[in-house]
Symmetry: C3
Subunit: 156 residues, 3 copies
């Protein structure tokens, strides 16, 4: 429907070193730069974590609200709860050296999204006034990777 458009697909991996057991890292500014660099005019940006004890969520960046979120996750899957995943005497699969007791973090991750798919229009990420995109660390501190794909139509 546009003149001089070209199909556009660009991929990158973002590396993040988290610093706390639970942490919300605001990725929005670097995602906006990625969309600009990719030359995407209309389409989607898919932001996907590469880990099973993290998540990608969209909500408001207000520090006290982030503590409310942490309390909500603690209530849903308590850090001191009992998880069969943490019973290394019973486990037979995927055991590694330095296995962390992180059943709570997997359970919290199950309740949150692995990815966020955000629309792009007129070269802008379509985020409402209060929306920010966060990587959620649930078992930090760790080195983490996030895969991003910008897909749609570009051109001048």
């Amino acid at each position: 429907m546009e003149t001089l458009t070209v199909p556009t697909c660009r991929h990158a991996t973002i590396q993040i070193a988290t610093t706390h057991p639970t942490q919300f890292i605001d990725l929005t500014d670097r995602l906006e730069r990625f969309v600009t660099d990719a030359g995407l005019r209309f389409g989607i940006l898919n932001i996907q974590t590469l880990h099973t004890t993290t998540a990608v969520v969209v909500n408001e960046h207000e520090p006290l609200l982030l503590t409310d979120f942490q309390a909500l996750l603690e209530a849903a899957a308590p850090g001191e709860g009992r998880y069969r995943h943490d019973d290394t005497t019973a486990r037979t699969v995927n055991l590694t050296d330095g296995e962390r007791p992180n059943g709570h973090a997997h359970c919290r991750a199950l309740l949150l999204p692995t990815s966020a798919c955000i629309n792009v229009a007129r070269r802008q990420l379509q985020l409402g006034r209060w929306q920010r995109v966060f990587l959620v660390e649930l078992d930090g501190p760790r080195e983490r990777g996030i895969s991003v794909v910008a897909l749609g139509e570009g051109g001048q």
Copy 2:
């Protein structure tokens, strides 16, 4: 793989005036019209809310079930619970005139998706027999916007 296909990308914003504090608004009919109007044959439709106290979910449109969902959200993040986000004496960030005590709504939104990505094949949204797409209002009544992108291949 198809003859006479053309890359297709179409964006629109849907405006909705919600009428209740918690409300499930069925968007399916207008989403199907959007896919038809966009001329999309195969691809995806990404439906994304532009707000941090709403969500986009896919489930059955059965009125009593929607009251079950409301009870589930009330149990997960009670409307009468205490949220630090609602403590305007402690807040230093993002305070606005007419700030609403809506920590519960943000917490409920955290547990629900910001977007739904639905497949399109043979010009049809791929929804199962009982699947409907809803905007979920969690802090209404409000004016709300939903961004939609249809992306894939079109043509006659």
Copy 3:
């Protein structure tokens, strides 16, 4: 940005016969084959369930962890809880022969994603070391369908 790339869009439906009331079925191997067969080099794979009492999640395939997930879902929406959706004397909508009391399954589905959107780069699904993609059966055993779309750029 690539030479000899072609826009690519491929759709398929995967049929699964589940065998338990709650079950996590690992779809990853067949999804990887689908991406290979589609010839997708860069883009996304959207995996979407066609049912309202199932979900698609990404997490670790460790059997004891899957029992933790089942316990989490049971705590969030107990199988023995009371759901208005199951009150066939009050229901007026969507009633079918052999209606199953499955309000708990719908509620669990509300807390989990209907779809997962996974990035593809250099012909590979971008999954971290422990990430696997599961269909989650919440009201089995049943015949289930999953719609998949591979979208992006292909070519040799």
